[in-house]
């Protein structure tokens, strides 16, 4: 089916090494998300798996078979691109049928599969339109349709939602997750958005500068970030990182406390500071607190009803059982 193994894979462009030796296994049926800031090599990694780039050294195995030098067309993978990459001169039907046509499938079977995919993706009414006549979300669905009709060993998604507006993005996120639950096919999804990673993944691969910083389930990463980079990258708003004397109290170089693990009070608490900005989201309120003597800003998440304002002095208490400790190298202290 779709077990993908990267074995000591490297990639350099000329003298620039983008991916240093890297090992990674993605199990069959897994939803793996590559996440990291731009330029971290996550898209390159995906393109290596797709076969759109050659690996400089190392091997890629798909279902135990060495696919390192197989052309993208023959790897049995399907890809959804950031720009959707629909064929503008073909109708939606022809777009979705294109991989089947390339595989030389007979016309009746092509139609059957296209109709099926279209009904799953709510595209039935649009089959005769051109991509130019569709909305962003519809185009996205066509791109997904084109991927699923082939029944690939795995789906590759390259930042597929970044061209959609915020509301649509949430909707498509759910659709893709649902699709994965139904198809149970391996999916590899590249994004820079940690929210997408957290909500969709079975396994998150956090990348920085070509290195894998941590691999794990979303909750693993949330509860036990292996280093400061992962700690700062996963979770929203970001974890508060505090160095110095306060950290020394906990026998650490740096400690991290997530905003949702700090309680606030008008009267007493372990720390205190002045509210610089309070953001009221209705359900929650975020306080950005200055003058704490701990860090430039401490972010705190409180209930929607808590009503401190700019300039108020507040007191904060971190939950002792969820304080993350890091050493001088930024690595987690267990």
């Amino acid at each position: 089916m779709g077990r993908i193994v990267l074995d000591q894979v490297t990639k350099s462009f000329g003298d620039v090494t983008v991916i240093p030796p890297l090992d990674l296994t993605i199990e069959d049926g897994e939803f793996a998300v590559f996440v990291g800031p731009s330029g971290c090599g996550k898209s390159t990694l995906l393109r290596l798996i797709a076969g759109l780039e050659d690996v400089t050294s190392g091997a890629i195995r798909i279902d135990g078979e060495d696919a390192t030098s197989i052309s993208p067309a023959k790897r049995g993978l399907a890809m959804v691109f950031q720009s959707y990459a629909l064929y503008p001169h073909m109708s939606v039907r022809k777009n979705i049928a294109f991989p089947l046509r390339m595989a030389g499938m007979d016309k009746a079977e092509q139609d059957r599969r296209v109709d099926l995919a279209a009904s799953v993706l709510n595209l039935t009414d649009y089959l005769d339109r051109r991509p130019g006549q569709l909305s962003g979300g519809q185009r996205q669905r066509v791109a997904i349709g084109r991927a699923i009709v082939r029944e690939p060993a795995a789906f590759l998604f390259d930042e597929p939602l970044s061209n959609l507006d915020a509301a649509l993005r949430v909707g498509m996120r759910l659709e893709i997750s649902e699709l994965h639950k139904r198809l149970k096919t391996t999916m590899i999804y590249v994004t820079h958005d940690q929210v997408e990673a957290m909500t969709m993944a079975d396994k998150i691969v956090v990348l920085r500068a070509g290195f894998i910083e941590q691999v794990g389930s979303p909750l693993d990463l949330y509860h036990a970030p292996r280093n400061l980079f992962v700690a700062g990258f996963i979770g929203s708003p970001k974890m508060n990182l505090i160095a110095g004397a306060e950290a020394a109290k906990h026998d650490a170089h740096t400690i991290g406390v997530r905003p949702e693990h700090i309680s606030v009070s008008a009267t007493d608490g372990e720390w205190s500071g002045v509210v610089a900005v309070s953001e009221h989201l209705g359900s929650d309120t975020f306080f950005h607190v200055h003058q704490t003597g701990l860090a430039d800003t401490i972010t705190v998440r409180a209930d929607g009803e808590v009503g401190f304002r700019h300039g108020d002095r507040i007191h904060m208490t971190p939950r002792a059982d969820v304080i993350h400790r890091f050493d001088e190298q930024g690595l987690r202290i267990a």
Binding site: L77, S83, Y87, M90, M102, R150
Partner: protein, 276 residues
């Protein structure tokens, strides 16, 4: 933001621009008018403008006396053939430079451009000799090949600039969808670049049609296209203005029409994409 302009200003602009436009166009218009006159009316002093007995005689005489259709056919074969041959070579070349650029791509493009600037007269005799050696003198195939070479750099350049505008992701998508190189070019690239390919074809047909160095020097009678046909009128034979006009009109009409369709592409093609 376009701004509203006073009607008065617009009237002045319009009048002036139309006057200039008609002045520039006048020689063509006069030629077309004269082609419908009798030879006597054609040289009347003062000139006759619109009110004369319109006649198609000149067109008939030109065809009968000089076999216009044979020259026309040669022009069509040579212009069309050289463009078609050029496309076959230029499309793959432009594909490879636009989508798989290497460090040398820029140098190759510029070098191709430089071959276009080779003065024809500098290589006239060698080409002449080669033509004699291979029996190509006064043949359509010989001229077709030469014009193909002349225009190949422009074709590659134009196609290159059009291909550059097609996102590489779409071709990669085709590759992921199982398309081989041939399918990728045939089913995805070519249809998407069709408008660009059409303009390239148009411009090259025009350039080949009007080419007047090689067509004059490498043909005699058999393969002579319209440029040579017209040049044969350069030694006057009595009253011939109306016939000359008819012949000229027939020689330029097809290309004038094509040219009007391709104004925009013309700029791009002739400046090698430097002005858009």
């Amino acid at each position: 933001m376009a701004r509203a302009v006073t009607t008065q200003r617009k009237i002045i602009n319009t009048t002036f621009a139309w006057m200039v436009g008609l002045l520039i166009f006048f020689p063509i218009m006069w030629t077309i008018l004269t082609s419908f006159k009798t030879e006597a009316t054609a040289i009347a002093d003062p000139p006759v403008w619109f009110f004369f007995d319109w006649t198609l005689d000149n067109y008939r005489v030109v065809q009968e006396r000089s076999d216009y259709s044979r020259f026309l056919w040669n022009s069509i074969i040579i212009a069309g053939g050289s463009t078609f041959m050029g496309l076959l070579i230029a499309i793959p070349a432009a594909w490879s430079m636009a989508f798989v650029p290497s460090k040398r791509t820029k140098d190759i493009l510029l070098w191709m451009l430089s071959t276009k600037m080779l003065p024809a007269v500098g290589v006239l005799y060698p080409i002449y000799l080669i033509f004699i050696r291979f029996g190509l003198l006064d043949t359509r195939i010989g001229l077709t090949v030469v014009l193909m070479f002349i225009n190949l750099p422009i074709m590659v350049w134009m196609l290159y600039t059009y291909f550059k505008e097609i996102p590489g992701e779409i071709l990669e998508a085709a590759r992921m969808d199982g398309a081989g190189l041939r399918e990728e070019i045939l089913y995805v690239l070519t249809p998407m670049a069709l408008p660009g390919i059409a303009s390239t074809v148009l411009l090259n047909v025009i350039l080949a049609w009007n080419e007047a160095f090689w067509t004059l020097n490498l043909t005699a009678a058999k393969a002579a296209p319209l440029t040579a046909f017209i040049a044969s009128y350069s030694s006057p034979e009595g009253l011939f203005y109306a016939k000359l006009s008819a012949a000229s009109t027939m020689a330029i009409a097809p290309i004038l029409i094509l040219g009007w369709f391709s104004q925009k592409q013309l700029v791009r093609g002739l400046t090698f994409g430097a002005v858009k």
